[in-house]
C-alpha cells in the first residue's frame, strides 16, 4: 500500500508543494493538510514543511505550535507515528516541545541558502533507517534561524540516546556540536534544518534527499 504523507500547510509555509512532489517521486503519496483542521485524515506520516509559518512573527514556530492541527500532530507523534519537521518545521517541533532545544539566528546573522554536506550519525530514525552511520549526503540549507542550541544536560542526553541524526561537515551556522538534525527518543520524530526535498531530482544536482524520504515512506 502506498504510504500517505500529510504535509501541513500553515499560512506562510512555502515548501509544501516541493515536499509533496518529492514524496510522490519516491513512491509515496503526498497530500496537503490545513493548519486549521483538527484531524490528520488518517495519513501514515506527517511532514511540517519549510517556510515562514505565520510570518515567523514573534519567534519562528512560536505561533504555529498553537495552530489547531498541532494537537493532532502531537497525539500522532506520541502514538509513535512518523513526524518530520524540515527547517521551519524543525523550529515548530522544538516550540511544540516534541523535540528539545531551539534554533537561534545563524552565527553570521545572515540568511544562508547554499549546499551543505551532512554526515549520518544515527540510523535509528524514520529518515535514516535505510542509511549507514558515516554516510555523507549533499542536501542544501536555506535558513536564517538554523543555529541549534540546547543545554549541556540536553546535549548529553542526545548523545547518550544516539539522538543526533545528522551533523554538518562544515558547520555553516554555529550550531551546537555541528547538529543539523535530531530525533526524539523513539526515533519517530525527526527535525532537521536541511531540505531533503531540494535534493531529490538529478537535475537539482543531488538525489541524497530522496534517500531520506524513501526511509520515511518505508521503501527499501
Amino acid at each position: 500500500m502506498t504510504t500517505r504523507v500529510g504535509v501541513v500547510v500553515f499560512p506562510g509555509s512555502n515548501c509544501e508543494h516541493d515536499v509533496v512532489e518529492a514524496v510522490d517521486a519516491v513512491g509515496g503519496s503526498g497530500e496537503l493538510l490545513w493548519h486549521k483542521d483538527k484531524s490528520l485524515g488518517g495519513v501514515d506520516a506527517v511532514v511540517l514543511p519549510g517556510g515562514f509559518a505565520h510570518g515567523d512573527y514573534l519567534r519562528t514556530g512560536a505561533m504555529a505550535r498553537f495552530s489547531p492541527i498541532m494537537d493532532a500532530v502531537t497525539q500522532f507523534a506520541q502514538d509513535g507515528g512518523p513526524v518530520v519537521g524540515i527547517c521551519n518545521g524543525f523550529q515548530i517541533l522544538t516550540e511544540a516541545q516534541l523535540l528539545p532545544g531551539a534554533l537561534y539566528k545563524n552565527q553570521g546573522l545572515k540568511f544562508l541558502c547554499q549546499p551543505s554536506v551532512l554526515r549520518v550519525e544515527s540510523t535509528d530514525s524514520v529518515l535514516t533507517r535505510r542509511l549507514n552511520v558515516g554516510d555523507e549526503l549533499n542536501v542544501p540549507i536555506n535558513h536564517f534561524e538554523g543555529n541549534y542550541v540546547c543545554s549541556e544536560e540536553v546535549l548529553a542526553v542526545l548523545r547518550e540516546n544516539d539522538s543526533i541524526v545528522f551533523t554538518y561537515q562544515d558547520n555553516p551556522n554555529g550550531a551546537t556540536a555541528d547538529i543539523a538534525g535530531i530525533r526524539n527518543e523513539n526515533g519517530n520524530v525527526v527535525g532537521l534544518m536541511p531540505h531533503p526535498e531540494r535534493a531529490a531530482h538529478p537535475l537539482l544536482g543531488s538525489t541524497d534527499g530522496a534517500l531520506m524520504l524513501k526511509g520515511l515512506i518505508g521503501i527499501d
Binding site: P11, G12, S13, N14, C15, H17, D18, E21, A22, K36, G51, F52, H54, G55, D56, Y57, K110, F111, L112, C113, Q114, P140, N142, F144, H195, E197, R198, A200, H201, L203, L204, G205
Partner: protein, 661 residues
Amino acid sequence: MVDVGDGIAAAIRIESHNHPSAIEPYQGAATGVGGILRDIFTMGARPIAVMDSLRFGLPSDPRSRWIAEGVVSGISGYGNAVGVPTVGGETVFDETYTGNPLVNVLCLGLMPADRLVLGRASGEGNLAVLLGASTGRDGIGGVSVLASASFGDEEKEAEKRPSVQVGDPFEEKRLIEACLALLDAGLVVGIQDLGGAGLTCATSETASRGGVGMDVDVAAVPRREPGMEPFEVLTSESQERMLAIVSPDGLDDVLAICDRWDVQASVVGRVTEGGLLRVRDGMDGQVLGELPAASLHEDAPSYDRPRRPPEQWEAAKADSADSLSPPADVGADLLDLLSNPSWVYRQYDHMLFCNTVVGPGGDATVLRLKHPATGADTGRALALTTDGNNRWCAVDPRAGTALTVAESVLNLACVGARPLALVNCLNFGNPEHPEVMWQFSEAVDGMAEACDAFGIPVVGGNVSLYNESNGHNIDPTPVIGLLGVIDSLTRIPPGLAWRDGDRVIVLGEASAGLSGSLWAAATAGHKRGQLPALDYEQHRRVAGLVAGLVADDRLSAVHDVSSGGLGVALAEMAAVSGVGFRGARIHGHAELFSEAPSRVVAAVNPELLPEVEAAAAANGVAVARIGLAAGDRLAVKGLLDLGLAAIADRWGSPMPELTSG
C-alpha cells in the same frame, strides 16, 4: 504574457525601485519585490522566480555600503518570507551610482494559458472588493514625491523617508494564495494591484479599461488609524492590497476564500454605467469628488523633450582607451577586476519550488518548466538573464544598448537556450537635460535595432528617470531581462567549471578594442572612445553554435566574454573549478581585457575537440585554441602568471572593500 508551450503562459515584468531604495534601502528594496509580485499575480500567474539587477556606488563610500547591504537584506527579508525564489540577477559597483542606486526587480510567473484575467471592471452593479492590508498614512505621495525628483540634500532625503512604504511579506504571501484561489474558482471579473497613487489609480484604471464608471465609498476602506482624510485614503500607497471586481452573486464565496487565508476583504465600490469615477462618503452618501475615470488613465500628457548629443561628443569618440598606458602588472589589474557576488545570492532562497537547475552565479538561470496547474514536468526549461552595462552605454548609448541585448542572447546560449521575449528597465538621469533625453532616445533606438536583428519581441518595460544626485546624472543604464527556452533539458548545463586536462578555446573573432571596458573604467576612469563593432549575423551564428554544442553535451564548461574580457572569464572559470590554466596566443593586455562581443570561452574534452572545431567551421565561427585547463596557476605566456591561491583569495573574500574596511 508569453506562450511558452504545453498550455503554459509566462508573465514577465521588470520594474525599478531606485528612489525609495536610495532613501530607505531595506524597505525600498523589499517593497520593490512586493510590487512586482503583485503585477504578476494580478494577471492570474503564480510568481515562480525573481531576479534583481542591483547597482551601487563604490563600496569604499560608507553610504553606498549602507545602501548595498540594506537593499540585499530587504530583498532577502521580503523575498524569502513571501515564498518566491530569487534565482539570479546582477550586482555592479560603479561611482556613477553614488547616492543614486539602481534596484531593478524582475518577476516571472506561470499560469495555464487559458486563464488570462485583465485589470478591467465591467458589468454595472458588480462590486469592487479591496483585499489585503488596511490603509494607512504610509506612502502618501510616494510616486510623486520620490519618483520624479532628484537627490542631493541629505536632510531633504530624511524628510522623504515617510513617503517610503513599509512591506509585510506575510500579508503578501496570504494575498497571493487568496487571489490565486479566487482566480482558480472563476470568481473574479477583473483584478488589479494597488501601486502608485493607491486606490485612485486602481479604481480609475479598472473603470477606464472597462469603459465604465465606479462609485467608491471611502468610508468602507479599512484604515490603520483614525482621522484620515478622504484624499489620504485614496492616495495612500500602503502595501499588500488588491482590488478585485466581482459579481454580487459571487461575493459570499469570495469572502469565504479570503477568510480561509485570513485576508481582509471589504466592498468599497460598485461599477456604474457612464465613465465617471465618483468618490462618496458611504456607498450612497455625499459625493466628495467626481471626474471622468479616463482622465486619470489614458488622457495623461505626452512629452517630446528637446534632445541633443553632449557638446564633447565628437572629441569623446576620438579619445580611445587603446591609448591608455598599459598596465605595469597585468596580473594585479586582473585581480582588481574580479568580484564575486555570492555574498549577495547566498542570502536569497534561490532553490524554492525545486526548479532551479542553474542558479545565480552562472551566465543565465535555468528553471525546470512544470505545468502550473498539474505540476507535470514538461521536460523543457526556461532560461533567464538580466544584463546591463553602464560603461558601454556611457560611451555610446545606442551601440551600448545593442551590445547589452547581444550579451543577453549569448548568456542564454551558454545554457543552451534560445531567446523568447525581452523586457527592459530603462534607468536614466534627468530628462529635462537635453543630453539625457538624447541618451534615452539613442538607447531605445539601439534596443529596437538589436531586437529587430535578433527577432526578439519586447513584451514589456519600465522607465526610471530623474536618477540624478547632487547634479550628477547616472550613466545611461538600460537593463535587459531576457527569457529563453530550452527545448529538452536532460542534464545540467556545463556551467563555468572546467576539468583538469580540458582544452580551452575561444569561439568567435579575436578583438582588442578597449573602449568601454571594465579595465579602462576601473584603472583609469575612462568611459570614452568607440565601442567594438557588433555584427548581428556573426553574433547569431556564435549563439546558435554555442546553444547547439551545449544541447549536445559537447562542452565541459562555457562562459561568455563580457565585463572584464577574456581575462576575467578565464579567472572566474579557474576560481570556480579550482583548476588553473596554461595558455598562449593572447597578445597583450588589450586582447585580455577587451569586451568585444560575440565570443565565448569553452573548455572541451580533448577527444571531442575535432568535432567541436568542425561544428564551428560548419557554422562559420572562428576557433582559437588558447590553452589547457591544468595546474594551480593562471598563466598566459609572456603576459600573466598568477597563483590560483591569489585568485581564490580575492574570489573567496567577497567584497574585499566591505570586509576589510
